[in-house]
Symmetry: C2
Subunit: 208 residues, 2 copies
């Protein structure tokens, strides 16, 4: 499993082939099937190790819980980014490993400290991780292609500018804004939208 992580850190999730991990252990691909039932299982087990690297931060403080949530989510994002493509794992399977649960536990603690309704808190966990994972996955794809974020942003801007935007006047006038900011700033904005929304949207009716 540690061998798999070394491969993923260096070559990204698509580089984590059964053969590559086996080579790291000086054996053949077939031998891995003693420890994992298939590649999907291998990646799931590896993912929980990544989750285990996330620092939960200090104890929940009702006076600054929002900032604590924001910071925790940034640390999750950083952990995912350090293993390119790892974010694709929780997008495909709900993580049930102990380290993933540990992060959810802390997130719930923080929201309870903030007085958030339990029903909202429960669904927030689901929704926000979807957002964190998607953000990390997007960044990772660029990283895996060996391209800088700024370089990609330039290409996108050029692609948009070369479009015929006569029938898209609002889009055209907002082009500079649409391509402004870096990934971290946009991530922070998204997280804040959802935290703030938490305080202004009625808790879901979970039918209990």
């Amino acid at each position: 499993m540690q061998a798999g992580l070394r491969v993923m850190r260096a070559r990204g999730i698509d580089g984590v082939t059964m053969r590559a991990v086996a080579a790291e252990l000086d054996t053949g691909a077939a031998s891995l099937y003693v420890y994992v039932s298939n590649r999907r299982d291998l990646l799931n087990q590896m993912f929980d190790l990544v989750a285990g690297e996330v620092d939960l931060g200090d104890a929940p403080d009702p006076a600054r819980w929002r900032r604590q949530v924001e910071d925790l989510l940034f640390r999750v994002l950083r952990a995912l980014e350090s293993y390119p493509g790892s974010a694709r794992v929780p997008l495909g399977n709900v993580p049930t490993g102990p380290n993933a649960v540990r992060i959810t536990e802390r997130l719930i603690e923080l929201m309870r400290a903030g007085g958030v309704d339990d029903r909202s808190a429960a669904w927030f966990v689901d929704v926000i991780f979807l957002f964190v994972n998607a953000t990390a996955y997007e960044t990772d794809v660029y990283a895996e292609a060996g391209r800088e974020q700024a370089e990609v942003a330039d290409d996108v801007r050029q692609a948009f500018e070369s479009l015929d935007l006569a029938s898209n006047p609002n889009f055209r006038s907002m082009l500079p804004l649409l391509t402004s900011g870096d990934g971290d700033e946009r991530f922070r904005f998204g997280v804040r939208l959802m935290i703030e929304g938490l305080l202004h949207v009625a808790p879901p009716d979970v039918g209990e």
Copy 2:
């Protein structure tokens, strides 16, 4: 390209192999390279056709713009779900096709009708599509594995219940809530969090 869509609707994105698309056209895989530069390019071109199937709905109405945004995003979600795995395409490349731009144009129109600050609107587009795509991708992975959403939910609940949750008391007490609701309800909740957040978070400082 239409041939590719038929394959994707029936077999999902991983079924869209160069050989499968070529077979649909009664030719060999090598012949596709006349029309696309590689598989990634094929998927990008196909994605814009999927985006083209989304109905933009009626003209923006300041009295009910929030609901209009919500409905539009649901229609995007449905389009993505009808081509399993297609949501992975926009997670890896910023879509710059005309049909994707058309949807963004409408989204911006709706927010302007609602009096949302342009800076917030611009970043909202990015953030909300990340959420929509991640939601669709998650659903699709289950669908591709040939499993019902409810069936997967049961497995997750069981996995959680079999964990030692002594050190995760908050998580344990919220287990019923964490596993409540279906995908659509959670999606709606997430979208509402972000729309409402839009009205309560200061516009980002885009450094202009």
